[in-house]
Amino acid sequence: MTSRSDLTRTALLAASLGLVGCGLERPPDPPPFDCAQIDRAEERFPDLCGPDAGPVDAGLDDVTVTDDAGVIDDGGRATEDAP
């Protein structure tokens, strides 16, 4: 006969295992940056793919976040109060 102790342990284990595998997945990293593979690359990445762009060295280090980005007061966008 199953004891209360066993039942309790089984319940604890079931509840704990139930938590596994429900998290959000880690998003994949961006693919290697290649102007030739990007639609309208010249328009979308003028610094990297435009006529005046230098040698393409993919990714983060060569990308400039625009001066307009990151305005604190964004007229309805979530900032500090978003959960």
């Binding site: 309790t8 509840a15 979308r44 990308v63 604190i72 007061d73 966008r77 959960p83």
Partner: protein, 757 residues
Amino acid sequence: MMRQTWLALVLWMGLGGALARAQESSLPTPEAPAGEAPRDPDDADTARDEDAELESLLQESVVSTAARSAQRSSDAPATSYTISARELEMFGIRTVDEALSYLGVGFYITRPRDYETGIDVGVSGLLQRDGGRHILVMVDGHIMNSQDTGTVSPHEGLGVPLEAIDYVEVMLGAGSVAYGSNAMVAVINVVTRHASRGTQIHGVAELGLASPSGYDGQPGGGLPQERVGLRYRLGVGLSTAFRLFGSPADLTVRGEWVEDINNSYGITPTAQDDFSLRPGETAWGGTATHTMTAPAAIARLRVGDFQLRVLANQYTRGIPLSGAFVDPWSRELRESLRGELRHDASLSPEVSLGTRFYADYTRFSERTSYRLDYWCVPGQVDGCNFELGSAGRSAGLEQVLRVDWTLDGRFASTLGYDVRGRDMTARPADYYDVITGEPSLVQATPYVHRVTVLGAVFAQQIVRPIDWLTLNLGARLDVDSSFGARVSPRAAAVLTPLDHTSIRASYAEAFRTPTSYELGQYDPTYQISALSLRPEVVRTVELEWQQGIDWVTFSLRGFASFYEDFIASREATEAEHAAAVARGEVSPTSMAEFFVRNDNLASLRTFGGTASVSMRPTPGLTLAGSFMLADTRAGDDRIPIMPLWSGNARIAYELSPNGASFALAAIFAGSRIAYSSFSLVRQVELGEQLDLRLTFTSPLDFVPGLHVRASVSYSLNGRLPYLINGPIDAYPDAPPLYTPVTSPLFGFVGLRYDLPL
């Protein structure tokens, strides 16, 4: 971190085994009645039946949230009251937040339904755009605040079918001494029904219609593409009592589906170039609509002293007024699955032990769509679809030992502990190209995974040295890997010099843990993570006088609250930006001056008071109401949204007990400073608020068990104190554009059927 998690699991297993052994040796006696051996206040059970009898004898509420043991509301160490299921029905209440607004004391609640929060809950003068983080909401003692974000939505998103609610108990003031984090201004415990005898099936069907509204926030308007709102609610349930393995058992299951295809409402079009316009659009605004869907289910099985509870819900609503106007991408989603195994043991007439093992899964995401490239990551020149989200998993064990040394409540002790493990995974800033749907091609999408552990011990001592004086002293120590340690003390003295006269003085401290989301959230376009934050803290002193005179009872309460270390956003320093670059959160070529981070910044103080009265001059007639006057300031500045004064009033007449009833309820509030997320908008005040609700209920005698309820509501001021647009220095004459009350005029009719088998 993995090692910590497994260590915590092993610890739980060991404790569970030890607990089970203790249970085997304990006396299998049922709960002791209120006022004798203390019981678990989180449990509806037969206790509510006992409480109802006791309440009728005492002519006042029996409450259990403030002290975690049953006592008269006039003896409680904090202002406490209950709202019964009968009141919910009689006043046409559809959600817990409506109950608190129309029937509660000390609450002021708004539903902006915007991007930042769907609902803002103000209590005792404090109202923040915080997603409910400063209140603690429980269902049968189970914490409903998300463990990864701290937020809770006491509207349709709470996830409790309306007919499952037996009563709502509210404790105002600091409650961390009993419950830990989030219980800063109020604790709300929704207690659900249970099966007492036999078997019943339940059904409910409600259908509502809402008038379209115009640019002025009033019903009608004749806008193009306007529509009448349709809202329906369907619920089913089963409750049955039986015997299982030789023990009394009962099973209660209820499910509900709510869908709101909202009426159209007018938003005055604006042609300003900083609004997101889709190709072909020349102005932002026009006729807005949205939908909301909220299925929920709750189940409880009790066998002897054991109980198993499961709650599940999903809540989805459109967000038509953020980013692009009425964009189908923009919506809020909340989902949860919660479970709890509980055991209540009476070890002796004096001693009881309550044990809860609980586990929660919650998921949250919000989306909006931007057509201005500067809201998006580089390369998304046509705009972007933005989404933030998180998933929280938590599990814990709580045990509470109660000892009533003298069996009359004169000297009663409570000891307990709570251990909890929490896991959060979050994607706080996913940007997808609005044309191609691609994520950023140059920037890694933010991802955060945090595991945190909480351990807490708490103790409370009730001493009644003489008949007219009750002292309540308690403290709780929370040790949390999110911030360190925090002690939350409370001291209360209750004088009862005369029958039906009670005077209470109390001091209490409470806190709110910085959540994993607040610590870890970052966005490559404007925000770096905080990594380290202190808990928010409140210190509150209160003085309350409660008086009953024949058919009138009233309460006067004054309070002063001092809040410190509120978490808000500030500009990041160059050093902090450089550290974020090193962590890979943001681009090294981004500029520090455009980045913000969370920090402990704000200090607030509130001086205020509440008054409430309830009168029953003749059988069946009830007149009641409450009024709150509270001045909250940050420095010399009043905080926005929260009015200086607010309250509610109601009158109801029952033709016979539980028979037909007519009820009229009102919410009123003074002018409010309108909130704008754009700091350059000049301060404007929105005028007074008055909402009215008229409800008729009646049993339909030709079918036993069948009840009808019909209600109509009207908001005289069709606007909410949230600015979509407003005057700035460049456009000083621009009229303020307020967020509208989405349904200023609506009504519904419903049938409820309780069929005994």
